[in-house]
Amino acid sequence: MARIDLDHIRHAYGAKPKSEADYALKEVHHEWNDGGAYALLGPSGCGKTTLLNIISGLINPSEGRILFDGTDVTHLTTQQRNIAQVFQFPVIYDTMTVYDNLAFPLRNRRVPEAEVDRRVKEIIEMTGLGGWAKKTARGLTADQKQKISLGRGLVRSDVSAILFDEPLTVIDPEMKWVLRSQIKRLHKQFGFTMVYVTHDQTEALTFADKVVVMYDGQIVQIGTPAELFERPRHTFVGYFIGSPGMNVLPAEIDGARAAIGDQSIGLNFQPKIEAGAKTELGIRPEFISLGREGMPVAITKVEDIGRHKIVRARFADRLISIVVDEDGEIPAEPRVTFDPKAINIYADSWRVGEEA
C-alpha cells in the first residue's frame, strides 16, 4: 500500500509537443493518500486512462516524476512498481483453470506453493467462485471473468495500489451493483490505495472518497462527492455531475449583484473578478424554487421521472432546469427564486471566491 505523488506530470503521445494542445495530459501535480479510494471521472478522451497508465507504469510520462511513498518510481516497470490493474474487458488466461489463473501472478513471482494455495483459496472464498476453481476459465460469464481479473490483483497481498480502468463496462446492470459493493467491501477490509477510472458519475460518487474530475487533459477538481455537488470549481464539473447538470447562465457581475438579462440577483458575497473575464452564474436545479414569488419564468416542458419532476423553463431568454418534488405544484404564473447560498460565480469557466 502506498501514497502516490504525482510530481508535475505531463504527457504527450507525439514525439515533440509544441503547444499546450499537443499534451494528452496537461500538468498534474497532486498527492494521493495511502489507502484512499479515488475515482477518475470524465468524458471519453479526457486523459483519465492516460493518467492511470502513467501510474501503473504502462506509459512513461513525457515530463515529471511519480513517487510511491516518497520513492521515485518514474522509470520502474509495472512489475517493479508492484501494481495491480483491472481492465475494461476482462483479461483471463482461458486455457487455465480459475485456480491457476489466480495463482499465476504468485507463481510468476516464485512464491512457495503452500503460500500460493493459501492465498488463492482465500480469494476464491472472497469472490464466491468456489464451484469453479477446477474448471477452465473460458466458460465463465463476463462478471465472473472480471472477478478473476480483480482476484489476480488481490491475490498479491503486497500490492502498492489497485487500478481499475472502467471495470464494469461490460457487466450487466444488476451485477454492477453486486460487484461494486464487493469491491468497496474489499477496499474497506484490506485498505489498499484504489484508483478507479470511470465515465459514470453514479459509479464514481458512490465508490470513492475523493472524486478526481478530468476535462480536456487536466484535473479540474478533486473533492468529495458533496464538494463536487455544492461547489463545482469549473463549469464543466457543474454540467457533468448531477442529473440534470448545473444551470450556467451568462451574468454581469456588479459588486454583490449579478444581472442575468433584465433580472438582477443579490449575492451573499462579493466575487473577485478580473476585468474582461467572461462571467457566469451557476446554480443547481435542486436549489431553484418554483412558486408565486420571485422572477418570472415560462415553462416549456415538465418531465416526471418518479421521485421528482424536472421542469424545463425559459428564464431571461435562457433555458434552465428546475427540480420540483413529485407532489410540488406548478403555479399558473410561475416565478423562481435562487437560494443565495447555492449560487456559484464563474469567471472564464473557473469558480471565483470572495473579494479579499
Binding site: 504502462l58 512489475q79 481492465f87 474487458f89 488466461y93 487455465m96
Partner: protein, 288 residues
C-alpha cells in the same frame, strides 16, 4: 416449431449443384468408373471388381511413394509451422514495417507453382545456378540431379521458401487480434516471455494454426508440380511422390485402371488423415 417445407428452395441451390456436379462429382465418378473396370480402347469395358485396388495395394511402388509422401509432409510441417510462428511473433505490429513485411511475405505465394519449380531448378544447378555454384564453391559436393539427399534438401528448402509465408500470415492474423490489455495484464502479473507465448499468444493462434496445419499437410501431401519440374521424380525414384507416380502410370503407361484405383486410395488417405488431425486437434481444444 413446425418446419416450413418450401420446395422452391431446391431451385435456389440448383446452380451450385450443377457447378459442383461438373467440377467434382462427374470427374470423380469417372475415376470410380475406371477403377473398377478394364478397357482396351474402343470404349469396350470389362468388369474388374477390386482387382486394380488389390494390385495397387500389393505393389512396392505404391508403398514406397506413400512413405516418401509421409516423410516429406512430416519434414515440411516440422519446419514450416514452428518457423512460421517464430517469424509471425517477430513481425512488427504497427508502423511502416507492417505493409512492407506483409508484401514480402505474400510474394512467394503469388508465384505459380511451375514457375517456383523452374526458379529453383535453375537456382540449384551446379553449372549456372547461383545456389548450386555458391554451395559448390564452399567445397560441398552438391548435385540435386545425381544425389537423392541433395534432391530432397532442394525440394524441402524450396517448399519452405514457398509456403512458410502462408503459416506466417495466418499466425500474424491470429496475433494482431489479441487486445493490448492482455499484454499489459501479463506484464502486471509478472509473466515471462515464454508464459505470454504459452498462455496468451498460443491459445489465440490455435484456430489459425489448425487451419495452417491442415492446409500445409494437404498441399504437401498432394505436391506434384515443383518436384516434377525440378527433379522429375529422380534421381532414380527418390523423389517420386504418389502424385508423380500417378501421372506416370496414367499418362506415361496408360494404365488407366490402376491409376484410377490409386487416385481413389490417394484421395481417401488425405481425407482420413485430415479428419484424424482435425479431430485430435479440436478435441484437445475442447479439453484444454
Amino acid at each position: 416449431m413446425e418446419k416450413t417445407w418450401n420446395n422452391k428452395a431446391w431451385f435456389m441451390v440448383l446452380p451450385v449443384l450443377v457447378l459442383v456436379a461438373f467440377s467434382a462429382v462427374i470427374p470423380l465418378m469417372t475415376v470410380v468408373n475406371y477403377s473398377v473396370q478394364d478397357t482396351f480402347g474402343n470404349n469396350e469395358f470389362f468388369w474388374a471388381g477390386t482387382d486394380w485396388f488389390l494390385e495397387v495395394l500389393e505393389s512396392d511402388r505404391f508403398w514406397d511413394a506413400l512413405t516418401r509422401n509421409l516423410i516429406f509432409s512430416a519434414i515440411i510441417l516440422a519446419i514450416e509451422i514452428p518457423l512460421g510462428i517464430v517469424i509471425a511473433l517477430n513481425m512488427p505490429k504497427k508502423g511502416i514495417g507492417v505493409p512492407i513485411c506483409l508484401v514480402l511475405m505474400a510474394l512467394p505465394l503469388l508465384i505459380p507453382w511451375n514457375v517456383v519449380g523452374t526458379i529453383w531448378q535453375v537456382f540449384g544447378r551446379v553449372d549456372i545456378g547461383l545456389l548450386g555454384r555458391a554451395v559448390a564453391s564452399l567445397g560441398i559436393n552438391y548435385n540435386y540431379v545425381q544425389n537423392p539427399i541433395d534432391a530432397w534438401v532442394t525440394l524441402i528448402i524450396m517448399d519452405v521458401w514457398h509456403w512458410t509465408s502462408l503459416v506466417v500470415l495466418l499466425c500474424y492474423a491470429g496475433l494482431v487480434s489479441i487486445p493490448d490489455a492482455y499484454y499489459q495484464a501479463a506484464k502486471i502479473d509478472g509473466a515471462s516471455r515464454w508464459s505470454v507465448f504459452r498462455y496468451i499468444q498460443l491459445p489465440k493462434m490455435k484456430r489459425v494454426l489448425l487451419i495452417a496445419f491442415l492446409l500445409r499437410f494437404m498441399d504437401s501431401f498432394m505436391i506434384y508440380t515443383e518436384p516434377f519440374v525440378v527433379t522429375g521424380g529422380g534421381p532414380g525414384n527418390s523423389t517420386t511422390f504418389l502424385s508423380i507416380d500417378l501421372v506416370k502410370m496414367a499418362i506415361g503407361q496408360f494404365d488407366l485402371g490402376p491409376a484410377a484405383a490409386l487416385s481413389i486410395i490417394y484421395f481417401l488417405i488425405i481425407l482420413l488423415l485430415s479428419w484424424i488431425f482435425y479431430t485430435v486437434m479440436t478435441t484437445s481444444d475442447a479439453q484444454g
